[in-house]
Symmetry: D3
Subunit: 249 residues, 6 copies
């Protein structure tokens, strides 16, 4: 039996109303020389489906958002971005439609950190416009915890963790022979870029072409599919545990 709402008929959807709907959100953006543009959606959809299967009969995976908020990657060919306003409108209207049919719990799983802020603003606005709805959202990689593989001083976009996940989830989309190190240490960066990577606040956003010539932070050549499996398992466990608690709350 499918957990994907899009594969259900309207009658099956009617039976599924209640519980949690997960919306997987991605990005359509550069992930360096070895990973595809759809990397973040691929990961979000796999995690969403596995979470749904982990809490059987109470969770469905709704429509995806294939394009996210990626202005910082626009110097790299193929990146497609929504403005923060349009991304937020899309989330709000998905949620509004699901609410219309009777769902009261919606969880967005975003494979792309650039969506986090817009998701937060949607959550704020929904407190007022839909007081009887609960809206949650979560990133993917940030939940890996101890499952995170060792990484270089600077690491992140297109680096160890994302590559490992793709080697596990969609190895056919990884160009293993093209994987290469990106920026791995703070002293490779110019002063402004270094400031933007400092831990904590103030927050100083910069474009990715200032951070890395090939678009990568970290060294994706050092990881394996097994690393990715550990990450995904840890992330799915944590989200599924949240969902189970939420359903019982």
């Amino acid at each position: 039996m499918t957990v994907r709402l899009g594969s259900m008929t309207t009658a099956e959807a009617a039976d599924a109303v209640g519980g949690v709907v997960i919306i997987p959100a991605g990005a359509f953006e550069q992930h360096g020389p070895g990973l595809p543009l759809a990397t973040d959606l691929v990961r979000a959809e796999h995690v969403a489906e596995r979470v749904a299967r982990a809490v059987p009969g109470r969770v469905v995976v709704g429509p995806a958002i294939p394009v996210g908020v990626s202005p910082h990657h626009m110097a790299f060919a193929g990146t497609v971005t929504l403005s923060t306003t349009t991304f937020a409108a899309v989330v709000r209207e998905y949620v509004g439609s699901l609410h219309h049919h009777g769902w009261r719990k919606v969880l967005v799983i975003t494979g792309h950190g650039g969506n986090n802020a817009a998701l937060t603003t949607v959550g704020q606005d929904l407190l007022t416009t839909h007081p009887d709805l609960r809206f949650a959202w979560t990133p993917v990689t940030a939940l890996a915890g101890v499952a995170m593989p060792a990484a270089t001083e600077v690491s992140g976009h297109g680096g160890e963790a994302e590559t490992a996940q793709m080697l596990h989830l969609a190895p056919e989309l990884v160009r293993r022979d093209r994987l290469e190190k990106g920026t791995t240490s703070l002293d490779e960066l110019d002063p402004v870029a270094r400031l933007s990577r400092r831990d904590g606040h103030p927050s100083l956003p910069v474009r990715y072409d200032l951070l890395s010539a090939n678009g990568i932070l970290g060294d994706p050549t050092t990881v394996t599919a097994a690393d990715g499996e550990s990450i995904v398992d840890a992330v799915v466990d944590r989200i599924a545990s949240f969902v189970a608690d939420w359903l019982d709350a």
Copy 2:
């Protein structure tokens, strides 16, 4: 070699700039007791990919739009809709990003007729905002021509043609045993609904629950996968021929 931009790396995307980008647009809406909510996206994506393969090396398939303009189906569970404004913003921002990278020809293939008007407004606005861009869009089923199977007096949504396409393209998603006749003749309709189905203008939009109790117009039980293959072949031929002419124009 993939034709899907989302499966390419940024370097491969850079090589692919030029030619035509196809954006497949669907709907997430009821298609009666036998077809899944994602029916329109499934058809649009298949047609897009086949058109891209038919004009090799000059066409890529960009990010999809999984949810369309479906307010008329909101009485049926599971339907998710965007407002016309948000749908248009999404299209405009996809196109704007592709234009930024150098593409000058974008074609939207929509599996859902409810998107047609919003796509037209986007095309109008782009004439002013992006004068060096050409934007085209097309429906799917309407291009079938003589390949259309015989149909009942009233036919359309979830009916003969859409069901045949799904039997051909994604038979695993069709509940064959649930397929059933919907509204098939004008005299089953109340006067307002009948008026809204009259050929030509004036145009009088009504909600689908006024048109059909089960959401279907036509009789989906009479068609086969072979009918669907004929439709899809005809549609792909016609769009591919347009694209080839466009690339040469």
Copy 3:
């Protein structure tokens, strides 16, 4: 007794609530060397008034929309255009006001095809925002049917049919001595323009300066006021018949 709401007092308007309100929509755009910028509004207003008189006591003509969606004509002096969003907002707010006073049936008659898509999006949005309202819209010329005069291979804007209507409805606004042939055959067009004029889909919108040096499609010199009378009579009959059926439905 007037059928124009604008000529009524508020007390007379109160008596007229119910039935159908017609909103005539035009364009303010080039119509070649012989026709005035207001051509589309002139035709829409005449047709609206005649339809109202054909269904006596049950139809009024509300406020007009003198400027439509005309970005494709902006290369020609004097053209004034609204964005699709603003045009839609105007229609929505006219309709919302009429609904506030108790009307439940609104029909827009547009003399300009560039408004069709925006009108359709308004109709879609109203299904959700005003479920107890019926909104219909119709073009003018497209309803002429067999009354259409013979025309050249390429024909349309400022051509045979529109000129004939103006000769009948507002001859004092036609510069007969300036009427001249525009583009009349596909082989006068460059390949992109020709592609945009192909029947059916895909739809490829282009600016009018690419289609015709003088802004005309067809040959307006071949028609007479009698041709225009036939067109207008046919159009009025068809819309009036729709309105009568609608009032009874």
Copy 4:
């Protein structure tokens, strides 16, 4: 030779570029038992046309705005209103189109005081968006000066001055036998309404149904067409004098 841009062809419009374009703006709102809903547009259009004729060859009358900002009259049947945002968008887009063709001076003549604030905001925004354009606007009645007829303590909407103008400009639209006194003195008003009519600031807007049972302020039965002629002459003189100075400035 016409001064109305809408009656010109595109070639004539091209010749008219330069000088001043006047946009007449009305309202579609109650004017009591004796005057039609279109009263404000009728007056604005007449004044606009007469101003254009008074400065021959240098002024044209562009497209009208038949519906204005009238939320305060919505308790009276037939009133149609735009939101302040949509009204402003319409003005801005008319002006933007005229600017595109080369005009640099646009004057809005509004027959309706409810449009004044939105016109002012448009003028403010244009200072930034179109620095090479000059945008002016003016009411009608407020310019009458000594030509104003004697009026009751409370007077204004649908009262002496507006009725006189309509008796002069469009007597066929006035129901003389229905003209009747409205609110004429402050002590007929409840305390809040009285406060809202106090001279000067603070400004306290209230709905018209709080100000007058029949929608009228003043006594329209006391004026004549000759009074209206005096008003219109004075207003036209004053605007024409401004336009002449502006063209020379």
Copy 5:
């Protein structure tokens, strides 16, 4: 006991619900060589607080709006402006929040005339969206009446009246040694600027750099703190009297 809502706890605010909330609105814009950018907010806040104290126990001063609508001053360094749309949204959302807590009377005191039109549009829109709320607004200087000091032929921004008020209310912010005459007579202006300063309508907005080289209209060197005290006393009296009448109405 404070009259400033921002200095109250939520429990104290709950006790204060009812009565009038005053919102002081300023501008952040050039006021010539002798006055600070915050001049208009300083004056609005002082007047607001004094009005609140003059009607004890029934009026509180809510959150301020420190930046107003100032596009006409953007040629002068330091000026910060909101668009008319954003300014109106801020006012509307302040008012909406106060309405949510139970207040039904809100008064904006604006130290900056550039806000007047946007405030008026907010008042118009609120008639429809919040029919049970009364919204009033007032300028400051315009209420001075006979307390206005003698002034030059051209006078206003940064001139006699504003300087006098600042000498009274915030002398530590006035650079007395930098105060200097601005434009003081019409014949110093070029023809367009002169036209824009003519009394009454038509209204022709221009940028301030066209009106005055140093940003000043009038002669601020001729006034004293005592002049300012007279103005402020007169303004406070007049607003307080309005508020008292309003509370009783």
Copy 6:
């Protein structure tokens, strides 16, 4: 010499162009029985001014934003909130104006965590619209590090850290005798509220009335002005150090 741009004249502002402009952003929201509604603005303004003084001659404090994004506090009287969209528009327009005058580095210091997401979206959008501008933002309390006082298991809004800061910065605004414990342990919360307070993601926003009856998280009775001084010193040091590095980068 002042560091507040609002206290400068336009000439002084012109001299100050370059360097960093700080925008202090607050909230206007409940802070429990002992702290005023303006708590977050008071803290942001003090920190901003002290940072400006710590990097002398290179930093000014621009206009404040007194009201932030506080829908989660609307159940408590006196709270005023902006929507996320309007808050973002205000920030964007402040920044746009400062950019117009030549500043290229803007830092928002927000005393209210509810503004963080909207500030992040503004930073994302500015990467595209103002590529030559650097935009940074920072919270206050989160930078305290080891200077944070001991706190209860659940702590935060209106609790130990915020109260300590107010005792140090604005003791006259603290009702010491009203300070009282709020929610201090997870087991006081209902299951949904407890889930929303779990560390890390998923993020589940809830209204504050679900978290605390008196609006407080933590125990504000245990801290002193000296605690507040330590926090503020630490925060100012950290931001000033960032600003100094930024100016040199």
